[in-house]
């Protein structure tokens, strides 16, 4: 299968007729239903083709609805999967799952949440990437032009620890209710740690987070790229315990990330990269409104959070895209 270039480089589960039949039991949708047109070649893709790739990725049948919904998010004009593949930037699709299904299928939102070790987390994102590779025709060295890539392109999917937090989940912030099963796709690079083990007050911790977020992608990039902040339970508790709402957190951090363009125009501090000189003398936010996606996840011990830098946002790039998961 590797020689036929059906794989992502790792061994895959052989997609036998029997295994695919069992996989299809994971959804109520008919096997021959065309669900999406997969970029870059915009190939119409049936539930069965998705099931074949889900078998190969190592999914259990009950993960299939999540894989299908994930494909429905990325195979859209607004997510622009073709652009995500073709860019030389080191980004790929990253999926956050919200809702009761995360418990039903045993997803991990705790220890090592952005890492390995959980079958659902590890195989759902992988199945999606295999569909893009096998059905859509988008693989590394072909349409995928990523200069560096990142390990998450093997498949990057996790769930939010929404059940023990007073704050609304990512899906709720995006207009869904907590009973709905929702998947959100975000185009991002690999996660990066933010360490702050000393801050006991929210006013201090939020400054650390802002300081790190400002350097996302490049400290000279403003407004045009989003980021996802994965706030760990211990960091989140600093804000919860002080009575901060999610809205207050986002408002305050936005204010802390206003940038004087004089410091980031081309040539400033001896660096040729930067905004054009015509943009001198103004203040711009690091992220556009709603450009910082907040997710709560991670192990209960450890005063660390993570930043996942994004790619071009808006119509030229990729918009974070959510869909309800249909069982």
């Amino acid at each position: 299968m590797f020689e036929r270039s059906w794989t992502d480089g790792l061994p895959v589960v052989p997609p036998t007729t029997e295994r695919v039949r069992k996989m299809l039991e994971g959804t109520t949708r008919p096997a021959d239903e065309i669900v999406v047109s997969v970029p870059p070649n915009l190939i119409e893709c049936t539930v069965e083709k998705i099931a074949i790739n889900a078998v190969m990725a190592g999914c259990r049948p009950e993960f299939l609805p999540v894989v299908i919904a994930a494909l429905e998010t990325i195979c859209t004009e607004e997510f622009n999967m073709h652009g995500v593949l073709a860019t030389t930037m080191s980004v790929g699709p990253i999926f956050v799952v919200n809702g009761p299904i995360t418990l039903d299928i045993g997803m991990n939102s705790g220890i090592n949440v952005l890492g390995h070790g959980n079958r659902a987390n590890s195989t759902i994102g992988r199945a999606v990437q295999l569909v893009v590779h096998n059905v859509g025709g988008g693989g590394p060295g072909g349409v995928d032009r990523s200069t560096l890539g990142h390990m998450g392109k093997q498949g990057f999917c996790f769930s939010e620890n929404e059940f023990s937090s007073p704050w609304p989940s990512l899906a709720e912030s995006r207009g869904y209710d907590s009973a709905q099963n929702v998947i959100t796709a975000f185009t991002g690079e690999g996660p990066r740690l933010v360490m702050d083990q000393k801050s006991r007050k929210p006013d201090s911790l939020i400054r650390t987070l802002a300081e790190h977020l400002i350097s996302t992608v490049s400290s000279r990039v403003v407004v045009g790229m989003d980021a996802m902040l994965v706030l760990s339970p211990e960091h989140a508790a600093r804000f919860h315990e002080a009575g901060w709402t999610k809205e207050r957190f986002l408002e305050e951090i936005t204010e802390m990330m206003m940038i004087d363009t004089d410091n980031i125009i081309e040539g400033s501090n001896g660096i040729e990269e930067g905004l054009p000189t015509s943009m001198k003398g103004i203040r711009l936010p690091k992220f556009r409104p709603d450009g910082l996606l907040l997710v709560q996840a991670g192990g209960t011990a450890g005063l660390f959070s993570a930043i996942i830098g994004g790619w071009l946002n808006g119509p030229p790039g990729s918009e974070p895209t959510s869909k309800e998961i249909l069982l």
Binding site: M1, W6, P14, P15, T16, T17, E18, V20, V38, N41, I43, C45, E48, K49, I52, N53, M56, E77, N80, H82, G83, A86, T87, L130, N134, V135, G136, G137, L312, P315, P316, G317
Partner: protein
């Protein structure tokens, strides 16, 4: 047991029908060439120079720009280009 040996194909199984390029004219004399800027940095400078050189050779130039290099040009733009031009040059992907 026999089923265990049969693998289903995970690919699109589609091979596109091979097409040939549209017919080329003998010469560009008197024709209109569309220059399509994909909106990537520096491409406009490159196309300005091509425009200069094409105009010097007596070719009529029309300039077009697609909104973003990350997506195919909108269908209306492709239609407009095709209806106004005899040939098209698209640049500059890097």
């Amino acid at each position: 047991m026999t089923n265990e040996k049969v693998l289903l194909d995970p690919t699109s199984e589609s091979t596109p029908s091979e097409r040939s390029l549209s017919e080329r004219p003998e010469t560009m004399d008197g024709l209109t060439v569309g220059l399509l800027d994909i909106s990537k940095g520096r491409g406009d400078i490159f196309l300005n120079r091509l425009e200069e050189k094409l105009s010097d050779s007596g070719i009529k130039i029309l300039r077009f720009k697609k909104p973003t290099f990350t997506k195919p040009a909108p269908i209306d733009l492709r239609h407009e280009i095709a209806s106004k031009c005899d040939a098209v040059i698209e640049a500059l992907a890097d």
